[in-house]
């Protein structure tokens, strides 16, 4: 260990950007019925965690980061999202 290795500690620096999986927080998870989905993007805007993305073929959910709050299912205007176990 040299001083260079210690600089993060000595000067209290954080240089890495990242996060941890949150799937263990979840009780239910959202499921999208692509037939009903109008691709309005409302769920993407309202997703608390920001783990939904608009892809070419509809909305994609990153289940590793979804905490299962259910906001997307509650807000979907066509009820295309439901919370499943």
């Amino acid at each position: 260990m040299n001083r260079k290795n210690m600089e993060y500690l000595e000067f209290g620096k954080a240089k890495l950007i990242g996060t941890s999986p949150r799937d263990s927080w979840r009780v239910k998870k959202p499921e999208i019925n692509q037939d009903l989905c109008k691709k309005c993007g409302m769920c993407v805007d309202y997703c608390i965690e920001g783990c939904m993305q608009m892809g070419n073929e509809g909305v994609i959910i990153n289940y590793r980061l979804c905490k299962g709050c259910g906001v997307c299912a509650n807000e979907c205007p066509t009820s295309a999202i439901r919370m499943i176990d």
């Binding site: 209290g12 990242g18 996060t19 608390i48 920001g50 259910g70 906001v71």
Partner: protein, 714 residues
């Protein structure tokens, strides 16, 4: 007398109830908060007749304490860490007026490195302030000491302010069986308060605090103060004995000796760690090792004579410190420094060692104390110590983290990483995500202590957001962002956004002065207030932004109190009167509107026109008591019922952004939230009337504009 299993904080609250404290100004800070909660609920249910002041900051809390004591009322407050540091100025004032105030401190580390874990770095800077300091080991001792402390502090030989310190988390939130004495016995032990110090009562006699004395008299003044501290030692022992006679529990006065008979070495501890140390001593005594334990209860006044007496009979002393005196040659904790000073004048001094450990809440186990005791015994045998100040480092862990490993999910380009540690359905997380997405990478951010600060303090060495940010002090986010903007200006970096991402506490209550100051100076910074309408990070305590009637843990629903009694501050309009160029309210249900406002705020500040203030409502599922999927629904209803009108004020012109054809009844908004569940029909009608009145006023203001209604500062 009854025995109940309660936490250290509840034990202190029960002690306060039994001591018939009259005025309790209190401001929440982890891990002290539940003291405030228990006291608020005791008052709400009529079990304690006292004035609880849910005050706007610790500085005011201590000021209110001495205000009340100067009138002759028995006062109590509790705080820790940064709150204690913020109190530093009125703490000094209290000693000048010689007021027997009692403050409970739930020890927590002072300084940044977002920690709410216990060590003594918060109370140690106050050790020379002239307050008595007691460090306690158990919840029972905490309750008993509240009662004893008033007896000691109010004794006419003493009359000194007192701090009783319990280890945050280890005691504050841990449950233990505690015997709660009868009110009658306590009343006999602690008579009702007749103040012996200065009382400001114009009807009785003229008496007012001394405001100045000639410099020549200061040495005598200081000597008199130290004499009172010396006299306190005797009183502490006396009161402990009297307490034992009445309640059957003794703590030994200034220090407690544990198995010190014919000891060759002793270790000295303070606070909750002592329990583990006792077990280690038991084990070693079983192996017939001659070691004892000293618990220092009263750190101020310092038990010099008692320490000398022990030092004369042992060969080595190991002092365990939960704090560091930085810059004292080679380190060394405050307790070590004081013990060393105490024994300097004796002949045949023992070897003295210092163990710095338990910092940042590190758990101290029985094995740790066995290790400490063995090292102390070895020094006794050798007649010298290899290492005098032992930091007890864990080099394996240092190797693990230096250089730090990558986070589980690495996103080097992200401005906001999904998966922050906020609660499920957290409105603030959503507002933070859109804020960072709109402002982009070219941003520096200050976040005062709040939920936001807690959730962006990710894993060690890793940040879950991709813009440089700092946890600002709660009373001064305005100062931090002003400094950043001025620094950027002098470095000719005008393209960088500066934002203060503040909670409602830091905007409305404790940090309001710094907001007002930054607005008045015309600092080109964005101030975003995410308003979850209470102190959510510390656990749902009432703030200046909590709406009328709402339940919080410090405005509980009981037989006397029914939720918050008063309304909220209207900060956007207060900022309008400051002449701020851009002000907006926003809602999470109207994301496009929110993002447009953020963009406008960024443009306003980058042009150097002055402050941009955005006030966004962020519903909080655990605090407002609703299921997590309703976050957006509730935001929308707040707008549609008129509880949270969306408007912006640009250069003095007010414009309402969302104009419902007719407002929905407020009941629709209230019924979804558990915090309003207790409201009766007439109370709901009252809230409806307030909303109607505010809405009418807003419409009037919109019509008055574009004629500028805002008072210009000229």
């Amino acid at each position: 007398m009854e025995t109940r299993v309660i936490s250290g904080n509840e034990a202190i609250a029960q002690g306060v109830r039994l001591s018939r404290v009259e005025v309790i100004p209190i401001y929440p800070i982890t891990p002290q908060t539940t003291i405030a909660e228990y006291l608020a609920s005791l008052v709400a249910n009529g079990e304690l007749e006292a004035e609880v002041i849910l005050i706007d900051g610790e500085h005011s809390a201590m000021s209110a304490c001495y205000g009340a004591e100067l009138i002759g009322a028995r006062a109590f407050t509790a705080t820790c860490s940064h709150g204690l540091a913020y109190m530093h100025e009125p703490i000094a004032q209290v000693t000048a007026y010689r007021l027997p105030i009692l403050m409970a401190v739930t020890n927590r580390r002072l300084g940044s490195l977002h920690s709410s874990q216990p060590d003594y770095t918060d109370t140690m800077p106050e050790k020379d302030s002239g307050w008595m300091q007691f460090y306690l080991e158990s919840n029972q001792e905490a309750l008993d000491m509240v009662i004893q402390a008033y007896r000691i502090a109010e004794d006419n030989r003493v009359i000194l302010p007192t701090m009783i310190c319990i280890d945050g988390f280890y005691l504050s939130y841990s449950n233990e069986p505690v015997e709660i004495p009868n009110q009658k016995d306590v009343d006999e032990f602690l008579p009702s308060y007749k103040a012996e110090h200065i009382i400001m009562d114009p009807n009785v006699r003229f008496e007012t605090p001394l405001l100045t004395i000639p410099a020549e008299l200061i040495p005598t003044y200081e000597r008199l103060y130290c004499d009172a501290m010396e006299r306190a030692k005797k009183v502490i022992v006396e009161v402990d004995k009297e307490f034992e006679a009445k309640f059957g529990r003794s703590y030994g006065g200034l220090i407690e000796q544990y198995r010190c008979e014919n000891a060759e070495a002793v270790i000295i501890t303070m606070g909750s760690m002592t329990t583990a140390a006792r077990r280690a001593i038991d084990k070693l005594r079983k192996d017939s090792k001659k070691i004892g334990l000293i618990k220092v209860r009263s750190f101020r006044p310092f038990p010099t004579e008692e320490i000398i007496k022990i030092a004369e009979s042992v060969d080595s002393i190991g002092v365990v410190d939960r704090a560091v005196s930085r810059g004292v040659g080679g380190g060394g904790g405050p307790l070590f420094v004081d013990v060393k000073a105490a024994i300097y004048n004796i002949n045949d001094r023992p070897v003295i060692l210092n163990f710095i450990t338990g910092l940042f809440g590190k758990d101290l186990r029985i094995e740790d104390f066995e290790n400490i005791a063995n090292k102390t015994l070895k020094a006794a045998k050798d007649g010298k110590a290899e290492v005098i100040v032992d930091f007890m480092e864990d080099l394996d862990l240092v190797r693990k983290y230096c250089p730090p490993p990558n986070p589980t999910i690495c996103m080097p380009e992200a401005v906001f990483c999904s998966g922050l540690s906020g609660c499920v359905g957290c409105g603030l997380t959503l507002s933070l995500r859109h804020t960072l997405e709109v402002l982009g990478k070219n941003t520096v951010m200050a976040v005062p202590s709040s939920c936001a600060a807690a959730i962006i303090a990710g894993a060690p060495f890793t940040s879950p957001i991709g813009v440089p940010h700092v946890i600002a002090n709660m009373p001064s986010p305005g100062g931090v962002i002003s400094g950043m903007r001025r620094g950027l200006r002098i470095k000719k970096r005008s393209e960088v956004n500066v934002i203060g991402f503040c909670g409602d506490g830091a905007t409305v209550d404790i940090g309001f002065t710094s907001l007002s100051g930054a607005a008045e100076r015309g600092e080109s910074v964005i101030w975003l207030c995410y308003d979850n309408e209470a102190y959510m990070n510390t656990g749902i305590q009432q703030s200046g932004s909590t709406p009328i009637g709402a339940w919080t843990t410090t405005s509980p629903v009981g037989s006397i109190v029914r939720g918050k009694k008063t309304g909220r501050k209207n900060i956007p309009l207060i900022m309008a009167l400051h002449g701020v160029p851009y002000i907006a309210t926003a809602s999470l249900a109207y994301i496009k509107d929110f993002r447009r406002k953020l963009k406008k705020a960024s443009e306003t500040t980058l042009k150097g026109k002055g402050m941009a203030y955005i006030h966004v409502q962020t519903p909080c599922p655990p605090g407002w008591r609703f299921p997590s999927e309703k976050t957006i629904e509730i935001s929308r209803l707040a707008v549609l019922t008129g509880a949270w009108p969306l408007y912006e004020i640009e250069d003095g012109n007010l414009k309402i952004n969302t104009m419902p054809r007719s407002l929905k009844p407020i009941y629709e908004y209230l019924k979804l939230q558990g915090r309003f569940r207790h409201l009766k029909k007439d109370e709901i009608n009252m809230i409806q009337n307030i909303v109607n009145k505010n809405w009418k006023e807003l419409l009037r203001l919109e019509q008055t504009y574009p004629k500028k209604m805002v008072y210009s500062s000229e």
